[in-house]
Amino acid sequence: MPVVRILILSLLTLMVVFTAGGCWGSRETDEVAYILSIGLDRGEKERFLVTISIANPQNIAGAGAGGGSSGGSAGEGGLGSSVIMSVESSAIIPSLNLFDTSVDRKLSLLHTKAYIISEELAREGLHDLLLPLIRYRELRGTALVLISKGSAREFIDKNKPLLELSPTKQFELMRQLTGTHGLYAVTLFHNFYNDLKSFAVDGTIPLVAIRQGGQGSAGQVAGDSGGHVLGYYEAGEVPITGGNPAQIIGNAVFRGDRMVGVIGGEEVRYLLMLQGKFREGKMTVADPLAAGTMVGLLVKQARNPKIRTEIDPEGNVAIDVDIYLEPEIIGIMSGINYETEENKALLEEAVSLEIQRGCQELIRRTQEEFRSDIVGFGRKVRYHFWTLPAWEEFRWLEHYPEAEVNVTVHSKIRRTGLQLKTMPHKGGG
C-alpha cells in the first residue's frame, strides 16, 4: 500500500513541522508587548533616557473588562490603556532588553507610531540616534517623529488624549489633521531619514510640548504685526486650559542632523505653502479698509507653487516662487462689503501681501538664522545639473544662504461663504 505509506509519511512530517514550528519565531499576540510610542531624553548617567508607552490590550479591547479604570486615564489603581516606563541606556534598541527585565513580554516596535525626541538631544544631532533604528526590521517607516520642547518623558507621561480609547490613534489623526490647519508639518521617519541623506534639503520635525502651569508668555511673539495672533505660537504656549495638556504646533528646524531653531505655527503654514503641501487653514488678515479689525479667511492652496531657479556662472542662485492661493471669506468684522469687485481685489491684494511678507520673512530666517534649506529649493536647483558629481560638488546647502529668493503670492477669492453681500448693520453708527 504505497499510497497509505505516503499519506502517513506526509502526515508525520506535517506533525513534526507543526511541533517543531513552535520555536520558529511565531509569537502569539499575548506574548508580545506593543510599544506605542518611544520618548528619548538625555540621560543623567547614561547617554539616553528611553521612555516607552506600552499598550494594554485588555483595556483597549474592552470586552466587558469591568476592571474599574475606564478609557485612557491611568488613575485609580487599575491600568490605563497604556503603561509608561523609562530606563537609562546607552543605546535605544538594546534598551528594550533592559525593559524586558521587568516586562514579562517581548517588547516590539512593530506598532510604534511615534518617536518623541527631546529638544536637548535634537540639538546635539540625531544621526547616531536614528541610524540604528532604520536598520531595525520592526521599525515603521511611517511612524511620526516629534521633537518635544521639554522632556520627552514628561510628554509621554502627561499626554492623555481624552477622546481616544487607543493611544496610537492620536498620532494617526495628527497626521491627517495638519491638512486642515497646517500649523505643523508632519514628518515621517523615512522622510526625515531621506532628508538627512539628501544634499538638497534640510529637515523639519513637528514640535510638541506639555503646556506648563500658567498662561506663560502667550501672545508675546505675535505682538508686532498687528493682531493676527493665530498660530505664531510654538508648542506649549497655546493658552488652552483644561483637556489634554499636550500640544503640537510649530516645527523644529534642522541643519543636517542638528536642530538649529524653531518656527511657529504661522511660519509652518508659510513653509507648507512654499512646499505646496498646504491644504487649507483659517487665517486672519488686517482689514485693508478698516484699521484695527480683522477679516477671517479660509485659505486653500490652489495648486503647487511654481519654482523657477537660475544659476549664473559664478554660482549665484536666484529663485522665484509663485504661490497660488484661493482664500474664502469666513468672517468680516468690520462689515465692509468685500464681495464687490473692487473690494474683493483689495482684499486679495491684502492677503497676498500678508502671506508674501510672511514667506519672505520665513525664508530670511532660514537663510540668516538657521542657514538651512527646509523648503527644499535644492530639489529644483538640482534640475540644472546633469550629473551627480557636479551637483554634489556645487554644495547647494552652502550656497543657500546667499541665494536670492523672491516670493509672489497670487490669491483669488473664489467663494464668499454663505453670504454674497454684506449689508451695513444698524448698531454703533
Binding site: V3, F18, E28, D30, I60, A61, A63, K113, S166, K169
Partner: protein, 622 residues
C-alpha cells in the same frame, strides 16, 4: 457453554487467510468440525426461512396471476412446493461452506450456471425450464416467476413466460397475456421458427419485442424488467419490454438549487435520465450509447454526446476507459468517476458530476460527453475544468451583469474557503505589523483570556464547524436544518463566553464555512475543506512564507492536472482563447464559439451577429 466456546473462538487468534497471501487447504478435521457445529442450527434456520418464503411466494403468485387464470396460481403453488426441500438442501450446503466462503473452490453449481448462461435456447420447454431453474437458482429465488399458459392458436401452443416480480409493469403484462390467451385464434404453423415470427408479428402487442436464442440476452432482458416468452417446439425466446419498477419521480435538484432556470433533477432510473436530456436536446444527432460495467452484476452505463459535435477521439477515449473498468459491481456514478478519472491521487475532482439535466445539456452542446450510470442521479460530464466546476449554469440564465458579479463573488469565496484561517494564523503569529494597531490590540485583548495557543483555537473551531457540517447531513430530517443554526450559534457564543476561543475567530471560521458553502460543486468544496487544514498548518509554522509555499505547490499540482486530456485549468492554465464565459460572463451575444479545448467538430456556436434583428431595424429605419 456453547456461547462461551463461541466467544473463545472469536477472541482467540486465527490466521487471516485473506491478507496473509497464502491459502491453506481445509483439513478433514476442520471440515467435520464445521459441519457438525453448523448443521443443527443451519437446518433449523433454513426450514424456517424456506417456510416463510413459501408462504410469501405463494401469496404473491396468487395475487399476481390469480386474476388472469386459475391455472397459473396452481402452477405457482406447484413450483414453490417443489422447491421446498431443495431450498433447504441449498441452504445447508451454503452454511456448511460458510467458513471458506472466500476460498476459490468452484462449486459445481457455478459451472453449471456458466454452461447454461452461455448455452442456446432449446426447443423443448422442459429443457428450457430446467436451464432457467439453474440460472436463477429456482425455486429458492422467489423473485423470478415462471408462468405457464397456452396460446390460443388453432392447435394451442404450450408456452411459459419468465419475468421478475416487481420489475415489470403489470398493466402491460396483462395486455400481453390477454392478447395471447384470449384473442389469438389463428392457425399455428407447425415449424417453431415460423411460430415465433407469427407471435412476434401478429399476436404480441408489446412495443419492443426481440427474438434471441442466447440465454445471456434472455437474462439481460429479464433482469432489466423484460418478460421472456418460451414457446413449445421453438429454439428461440421472445423478449418483450415490460419495464415498470418502483422509482422516484423527477424532483427538484437537491444539491444544486438555483433560482432561475429549469428545476428538474435526474433520478435513479437510467432511461428517465436519458429522456430528461433528450427532452432538452431534441436532436437526431444526440447519441446514447449503452455500455455495461460489472462482471458479476451488470450495470448499464450510457454515454451521451452529439454525433456531429463531440470530438470522436474524446468519445472513443471515454468508451475505452469505461469498457476497461473491471469490477464486479458498479454502485454509482461516483464509483465510475474514480475508475475513469485521470488523477486519482489529486485532491481536485477532474470530472463534473451534476444532477441538473440542463447543465448536462449545455455541456453536451459544448461538445463534451455525458456519462450516465444506471441507478445514480448524478451524471458525469467530461472533460471538466476547474472554472466549469465553479459555475452553476444559472449565470447564463441571468443577465450577464448579475452572472459576472456572482462569478467574482464565487471566485473570492473559493479563495477564502481555504486561505482564510491560514492567513489569520500567519497574521496573528508572525506578521503583527500588518494589522492596524487598533485591530491588533482588539485581537490581542480578546485573546488575553483565552488559554489556548491560536492554532489550537483555530483547529477547535474548524473541527467544530466540520462536525456541524457532517452532523447536519446525518441528523434525521427535521432536526437537520435546525442543528446547523443552533449548533453554530450556541457553540460559538458559548465558546466565546467560556473563553475558549476569541470572538474574532468565531466570525472568521463561520465566514470560511460560508465561503466553502458558496462553492457550487460539492467535490470541489471538499477539496478546499481539506486544503484548508494544510494551509492552517503552513500558516502556523512559517507565516506568509508558508502560505506562499502552499500556494506555489497547489498551483503547480493543479495546473498539472488533466481531465480526459484537457488541462484542468484550461483557459488560463495553458492559455487558450478564453471565450466569453470563464469568470467574466460576457453578454450572451458574445458567446460565439465553443471552448476550443474540447476540440469540437464545429467550434462556432453562433454567427458574429447573433441579434440579426438589430441590423434589420437599422436598415429599415434608414
Amino acid at each position: 457453554m456453547f456461547n462461551l466456546k463461541q466467544l473463545l473462538q472469536i477472541i482467540s487468534y486465527q490466521e487471516n487467510l485473506d491478507t496473509e497471501g497464502f491459502i491453506l487447504k481445509e483439513t478433514k478435521d476442520d471440515q467435520q468440525k464445521a459441519g457438525k457445529k453448523d448443521q443443527g442450527q443451519a437446518a433449523a434456520d433454513s426450514k424456517q426461512r424456506s417456510g416463510a418464503g413459501q408462504q410469501q411466494a405463494g401469496a404473491d403468485a396468487q395475487k399476481d396471476d390469480g386474476k388472469v387464470e386459475q391455472q397459473a396460481g396452481k402452477d405457482g403453488q406447484n413450483q414453490v412446493s417443489g422447491g421446498e426441500d431443495e431450498g433447504a438442501a441449498d441452504q445447508n450446503k451454503r452454511s456448511r461452506s460458510r467458513r471458506s466462503f472466500r476460498k476459490p473452490v468452484p462449486s459445481s453449481g457455478t459451472s453449471a450456471h456458466r454452461a447454461a448462461e452461455d448455452g442456446e435456447v432449446s426447443a423443448s420447454l422442459e429443457e428450457n425450464r430446467e436451464s432457467i431453474r439453474q440460472l436463477y437458482g429456482l425455486p429458492g429465488n422467489k423473485d423470478v416467476i415462471i408462468r405457464d399458459f397456452t396460446i390460443n392458436t388453432v392447435p394451442p401452443v404450450r408456452c411459459f413466460a419468465v419475468f421478475i416480480d416487481g420489475l415489470t409493469d403489470k398493466v402491460v403484462q396483462d395486455l400481453l397475456f390477454q392478447a395471447l390467451m384470449a384473442f389469438a385464434g389463428q392457425a399455428a404453423p407447425a415449424s417453431g421458427e415460423k411460430l415465433v415470427d407469427l407471435v412476434k408479428d401478429s399476436l404480441m402487442p408489446g412495443n419492443q419485442v426481440s427474438v434471441t436464442a442466447s440465454f445471456r440476452e434472455f437474462l439481460d432482458g429479464v433482469n432489466y424488467g423484460g418478460t421472456a416468452l418460451f414457446l413449445e417446439g421453438c429454439g428461440k425466446v421472445l423478449l418483450v419490454e415490460t419495464k415498470g419498477w418502483e422509482h422516484r419521480t423527477v424532483d427538484r435538484p437537491q444539491s444544486e438549487q438555483t433560482i432561475n432556470g429549469p428545476q428538474e433533477a435526474f433520478t435513479e432510473t437510467l432511461r428517465t435520465n436519458t429522456s430528461l436530456i433528450r427532452k432538452l436536446l431534441k436532436s437526431e444527432q444526440l447519441t446514447t450509447e449503452l455500455l455495461t460495467v460489472g462482471c458479476r452484476v451488470r450495470t448499464y452505463v450510457a454515454v451521451m454526446y452529439l454525433r456531429d459535435l463531440a470530438n470522436p477521439d474524446l468519445v472513443a477515449e471515454v468508451k475505452r476507459r469505461i469498457e476497461g473498468v473491471k469490477v464486479d459491481y458498479l454502485a454509482d456514478s461516483g464509483v465510475l468517476e474514480q475508475f475513469i478519472e485521470d488523477h486519482p491521487y489529486s485532491l481536485n475532482p477532474t470530472t463534473l458530476a451534476t444532477e441538473r439535466p440542463d447543465r448536462v445539456a449545455s455541456k453536451i452542446m459544448e461538445g463534451k460527453v455525458a456519462i450516465l450510470v444506471d441507478g445514480s442521479p448524478f451524471v458525469l460530464v467530461v472533460p471538466s475544468t476547474m472554472y466549469e466546476q465553479l459555475h452553476t449554469g444559472e449565470e447564463i440564465y441571468r443577465r450577464w451583469q448579475f452572472g459576472t458579479y456572482v462569478r467574482y463573488l464565487r471566485a473570492l469565496s473559493f479563495l477564502a474557503s481555504f486561505l482564510l484561517p491560514g492567513l489569520y494564523l500567519s497574521l496573528v503569529l508572525f506578521h503583527h505589523e500588518m494589522l492596524p494597531t487598533e485591530l491588533l490590540l482588539a485581537i490581542a485583548g480578546n485573546r488575553e483570556r483565552v488559554p489556548f495557543p491560536s492554532i489550537m483555537e483555530v483547529l477547535m473551531m474548524e473541527f467544530a464547524l466540520e462536525f456541524i457540517r457532517e452532523a447536519g447531513l446525518r441528523v434525521p430530517g427535521v432536526m437537520g436544518t435546525t442543528i446547523g443554526i443552533v449548533g453554530a450559534l450556541i457553540l460559538g457564543q458559548a465558546a466565546v463566553q467560556a473563553n475558549i476561543v476569541s470572538p474574532i475567530l468565531v466570525i472568521l471560521v463561520s465566514v470560511t464555512g460560508l465561503a466553502s458553502f458558496a462553492i457550487p460543486y460539492y467535490s470541489l468544496a471538499f477539496t478546499t475543506r481539506i486544503y484548508r487544514f494544510i494551509y492552517i498548518a503552513l500558516g502556523a509554522t512559517l507565516g506568509f512564507f508558508g502560505i506562499s509555499i502552499g500556494l506555489f505547490i497547489q498551483v503547480l499540482l493543479t495546473s498539472n492536472l488533466k481531465s480526459f486530456g484537457v488541462p484542468y485549468l484550461v483557459p488560463t492554465g495553458p492559455r487558450t482563447s478564453a471565450g466569453a464565459d470563464v469568470v467574466t460572463r460576457l453578454p450572451i451575444f458574445f458567446h460565439e464559439s465553443r471552448p476550443d479545448y474540447v476540440n469540437p467538430q464545429d467550434a462556432t456556436r453562433a454567427p458574429k451577429v447573433s441579434r440579426t434583428w438589430l441590423k434589420r431595424d437599422r436598415g429599415e429605419r434608414r
